[in-house]
Symmetry: D2
């Protein structure tokens, strides 16, 4: 019904997360009516995203090398570190394992954490081999055993914070991570890695009347 | 918090209709993880949208000239008509005035209308001069008076359907259109243009219990 | 967990339409904290509902006899008519068939209808005998054939308005009613009853962009 | 529009929490169509609620004396205790202060708390005298100073858990309670009462991406 060039773009926007054909159509007419400068800016930004953004060789976070350019010669020869991993002030005794980039950003925004991160790349609902293989567990173990190879010197992890969503899937993932991390040590003369989970309790704005029993029980036990 | 190239694109997507920063962030990571071919397809589609899509010189609908190429020599010398306006089988006694492209598409999908269209470009909440000036009322009157100048031959409008949303704003716009259209004639030896409105009543799936009185009254009066 | 007298009342309120245990609990504490006068008023109102409210012998609407007291001696000996059926100014050529009381009230609120009603008592999703038997179709036919027996004199129905929701279920019910009503006549020297349906179209506040094709098609055809 | 006895009951149900006229109307027709036995059961339950349910002289919880009948001769002469306050196994070193009955029930359901309660009767948005006067703060202080007078022997509160919603209003209330409770002692040779708050953190099913910074910060600090 729409001209070909419009329909094509509707189809492509419909693939964007949360977007259906109706909103995709609104996007297309928004761009159709936008001035040339604005559209050019969008095109440039999309091109720059693919050109400028790299993946950190240690934690798998996205970063922009121009900002940092801390190239390292070690290991695979041309690794690159994100601004967190290359920041010498970060605490190298703490490793926080998260599911995805946006979770890392959420934790950084609290300004309460000063250690390093590792982005797992997903969660698993069941501990099937094929599901677990989609997570970066092999990469995680490699980085704990040989951090220097991935650009981090003097790593000595005492505590691995499993900052995974307290959902059913997250719980399964946490259980698996605890199993593979607990027997490990990281760094010279170090002790077994202690794993911790994020504290449970009432979130800001919650009402006792609507809280589930498990959360309320945690809130009671964690009172202070 | 995000790398510059990511933040820039989040900002641009946040300007899209209905999109906030959170969904914009999801769009960026969707593109970040998409393969090169898919991103290239999107870039090409956006470029083609701006390059290929023209505005119909009569009805202001969008169209893709390559599909039709019905150039006309008349009037301003280089007008172009959309596939509806250039279709000789359409009924030239009927003109349907709509607010925007998507409304035109909705009406075409019903396959119940065979006349021409005119896209008004908006609605007004009050009949202030500055608001009315944003609508294409001057262009509408020009096209009714001299349709040939805009590429339509033998136009003789008997009825103008004011297919505007039955909202408060739409009603104000309809009242204004009735005022400027009713005294007019279009075409040789023709009578005054009759204006009509879309029928009111219960939509598919409605329940009497939740219908407003005005709608239910219309449904009673329009029973058949 | 709650005292027995509280839990009992929570259970009873939980049976109310749309109410779950949580809202039921709020109801109970609302009553617990209400003053005696208010609770007494509620008790009296519930008792009066069961004591004072009667069902109209012709249309099955609820009514309060004290207000009207138009007892009739005919037929079953002690029928009673609601305020609409006993109002001599109502048009006895029109019968509006509705699903339930609240639909009748919605239609009365429009002040556009002056005929009589008949409450069918439900709709059917399929034309199975056991479903149809739940409707008051037998009662409907009896009242059309012998209106005097149910208290209405001089009934002569020209048109039966099938004011049933334009939903899938409503459509099935309308089809069935058309089948049983069309061959009928009502009153002396009368013609076959004409059946009509409520008009379809855009409701107040609708937007063309979100209207379904069938509704928009009806709105186009019903323009005026 | 509705008969008087129906309208009266619609009006009364419309006063119930969360209920508007439309749902109230559905309630009335639900009762209209319910059988006599069911309506009688409802009437009896409402009467029993007002007749049987008492307020605990210590904690202000509702209870049904017949179940317990632990009358005490002290103080005002005819106080009565709820099943929690009269349970000798409950820990008399802990007092949990809640806003309302349903919060008490939520905490009991966790089976993680074994102390006594006190129902404050509300929260305050600002620390204005007229607002605070609506809370049972005077009653709270009386019960801490002279618990025997209200039926509790051997009370010796070490910790007062301020189990109030972590909302803006709840916070204001908590601050006020801390101010009036902290200098106090309760019981012989006892130390100053320690006040605690429910633990903050991620609730069951939460997602880091959507958690607010304060909650996520608490979850990080409270990790274990």
């Amino acid at each position: 019904m729409y001209p070909k060039s419009i329909q094509k773009l509707i189809d492509l926007f419909s693939k964007f997360p949360t977007i259906g054909p109706r909103t995709a159509t609104r996007f297309v007419f928004y761009l159709k009516n936008a001035d040339k400068k604005e559209v050019k800016e969008l095109l440039t930004a999309i091109i720059n995203l693919k050109k400028n953004i790299k993946i950190c060789s240690f934690c798998f976070n996205t970063f922009e090398p121009a900002q940092i350019s801390s190239k390292i010669e070690a290991g695979k020869g041309e690794g690159n570190l994100c601004s967190i991993c290359s920041d010498s002030r970060r605490d190298k005794n703490l490793l926080c394992i998260v599911e995805k980039e946006t979770d890392l950003i959420s934790l950084e925004k609290t300004r309460k954490y000063k250690g390093l991160y590792f982005i797992l790349g997903g969660t698993v609902s069941k501990l099937k081999k094929e599901d677990i293989d989609k997570l970066r567990t092999k990469e995680l173990l490699e980085r704990i055993k040989n951090p220097e190879k991935f650009g981090i010197l003097n790593l000595k992890i005492d505590e691995a914070i499993l900052a995974i969503n307290p959902t059913t899937e997250g719980e399964a993932t946490i259980l698996y991570l605890e199993r593979i991390l607990k027997p490990l040590t990281c760094g010279e003369q170090s002790r077994t890695i202690k794993t911790t989970r994020l504290g449970r309790g009432l979130p800001l704005g919650a009402e006792l009347e609507y809280a589930d029993e498990e959360t309320l029980g945690s809130a009671l036990e964690g009172r202070k």
